[in-house]
Symmetry: C2
Amino acid sequence: MKEKVDIIVRGEYILTMTDAEEPIHDGAVVIKDTSIVDVGPEEAITERYDARRYIGGKGCAVIPGLVNTHTHAAMVYFRGLADDLPLKEWLEGHIWPAEQKFLGYDFVRDATELACLEMLSSGITLFNDMYFFEDASADAIRKAGMRAVLGTGILDFPTVAASTMDEYFEKAEEFIKKYRDDELIKPSVAPHAPYTCSPETYKRAIRLAERYDVTVHTHLSETRWEVEEIGRRYGKSPVRHLESHGLLNERIVAAHCVWPDEEEIEILASRGVSVSHCLESNLKLSSGIAPVTDMLKKGVRVTFGTDGAASNNDLDIISEMSTAAKLHKAVSGDPTALSARDALLMATRWGAQALGLGERLGSIEAGKLADLVVINLSHPHLVPLYDIYSHIVYSAKSSDVETVIVNGRVVLNGGDSPNLDREEIFYKAGQWAERISKNS
Amino acid sequence: MKEKVDIIVRGEYILTMTDAEEPIHDGAVVIKDTSIVDVGPEEAITERYDARRYIGGKGCAVIPGLVNTHTHAAMVYFRGLADDLPLKEWLEGHIWPAEQKFLGYDFVRDATELACLEMLSSGITLFNDMYFFEDASADAIRKAGMRAVLGTGILDFPTVAASTMDEYFEKAEEFIKKYRDDELIKPSVAPHAPYTCSPETYKRAIRLAERYDVTVHTHLSETRWEVEEIGRRYGKSPVRHLESHGLLNERIVAAHCVWPDEEEIEILASRGVSVSHCLESNLKLSSGIAPVTDMLKKGVRVTFGTDGAASNNDLDIISEMSTAAKLHKAVSGDPTALSARDALLMATRWGAQALGLGERLGSIEAGKLADLVVINLSHPHLVPLYDIYSHIVYSAKSSDVETVIVNGRVVLNGGDSPNLDREEIFYKAGQWAERISKNS
């Protein structure tokens, strides 16, 4: 008697991203309820299991869901609002005024639905978000059926989120309590950056995160301006500054880290800080190029983030992998730097680990939660095929993503989401954009 | 009475890439036979013309066909054959042995069909090719119905193409005579590079090109190794070396130009040399980053090339534009460097000019040949829309290309080509790859 299961996902290549020998050729992944219960050669799997639904097959590759470790999802509504501008003019003249005027529950919920549709379409199943009105984000994300780690930005001055430091932290604690047992949403604490948060704010954030065993999401060493500003204020560069106050540990997901020097890279490695490399945003805003090859060599866990779509201008981890795996070869002068498989590890297993979810997510193995992406290889740009890792990183486009499964449920198939209304999302985006345009 | 025409292409945005005010909102392009006969607001156009076929409409952008100014199309069969390796090991251990063993008429024809399908799918209508068995390339390209400028590589040693210098040049002249009046194919002369061609070979190539009024396609200043090697041999850097022999003029399309110094950039500008910027290949092979911002400032005509898919690993000008427009902001430290519209000019009008075809191609205006690309904007990553140039360059993917018209004929629609058999192309690629794998 065959065992009844929910879904069998078949692939000409299964990229488990485990330390076992891989890829599995002509393999299959068995899903029961929310979890992966078996992985192996298709023949052996189909002898033992009978599924309600079969997905994938010849001409497909199956990879773990991609992890976006730094974004501001709702900023999709500012995509392309202002480009090719100096950072100060971009922020102060366009983005901040638009945020001031429009941010609210509805804006964030509607925008995050669009962001979820975009991320699912490009194979992202889990993202790490820092913004405002994160309750609204959570609503959109649960509706989409995808996963996220959410934290409301904490800054040393009043914003739409709170007026006092106590209010920021009361709300953060409330948010943690509300979501800590959620199946798809994980809360985090999100002190914005060293130039907007005092060491006391960071301390309080880390204490709160420790109390509830959640992650801390922050920006760190993004621009030369930040390095200079933190130097002026504290006499130290940003990583050393946080280190000197004992604020760095393995809970921290630090976005950007464009400007750490050699010693600071060693600090990040020894403290177990995870770095979210946001290459396309760093390039487009002219922030610089993070020393990824050095960070990897010294043992820093580097992962990929898209940052917000206002500075990227998309939410596409496949494109980040491709750009990074090529660019760091030129920057380091070493054509063997950042191999295709390492780039895919950064985008999957290491990403899940960075967000404190490595035990249950990030690779394809029995016992893990079923977050999978099926990639259709039958496209001219993926022919012929010698090395599947090379193809996924250097040749695939996010449009090759065919099916996405999160928590054992099919949440995207052939570009369509069973949970999200594409036409309604586009319509609402158009309506919001009209209002935003008139204001800017 | 309305005038009967062949095709009317409608677009919510028509990006003419002319110096006239643009984009045209809710516009239309009128095609009769091979040419554009009118462009303007849709209302005015539909009052005056009646077309056999209507293409595009709301939610579409229409741009000129993209121009790939440097590739080795048939190398698609080596895509992903060997990655993440030092250049010498990649070339000598993998690419050259495979070429030695497999290159021939059938290989190049079959591989070029795949390359044409890939390029059309990503909106490329015209490419500049340097390889061997260019007669085979021409057969595939004419079958696909796209345009190319083709030149057989000339080197100072025997290759599959010829055994002696006289044979190279006799064949080159024969090829020019055969194709110079072709509707879709233009011949060029292709001395390979300063390190494989003596100044005498370049002189002879330029004389031949002048005799028949065709372009010269060469590699120039691609790697540090080349700069050192040319320095050892001739006591000069590559651009100065060619300049000192009077070999630089406006016929030259120079691929790469990663390492020209300030003075060499001025030489390229004053001689009217066109540069093909092959960013993704330069990154992946760790060749370096070309000084594009400086070249543009000094008036060099910079265009985009994909190089061969063995070092990229795709043939995608939309991706090159996006990577370049972001990267050069970071490299130059100036977030206003390389604007989206300039990137699109490089990929269209300037590309056509570089290939000597600027009079008839590269922009959307009455009297030009009808090479057009329709981009579907109804995708989550293109919503909302504030600035169409920003979207095409920073957010669009080549998979958003919906319809491609070359010479007034629809050559791609919804991913399918009326002239190319996708399944047969994939099957042949698989067969060739199997043989190549066994050999390597």
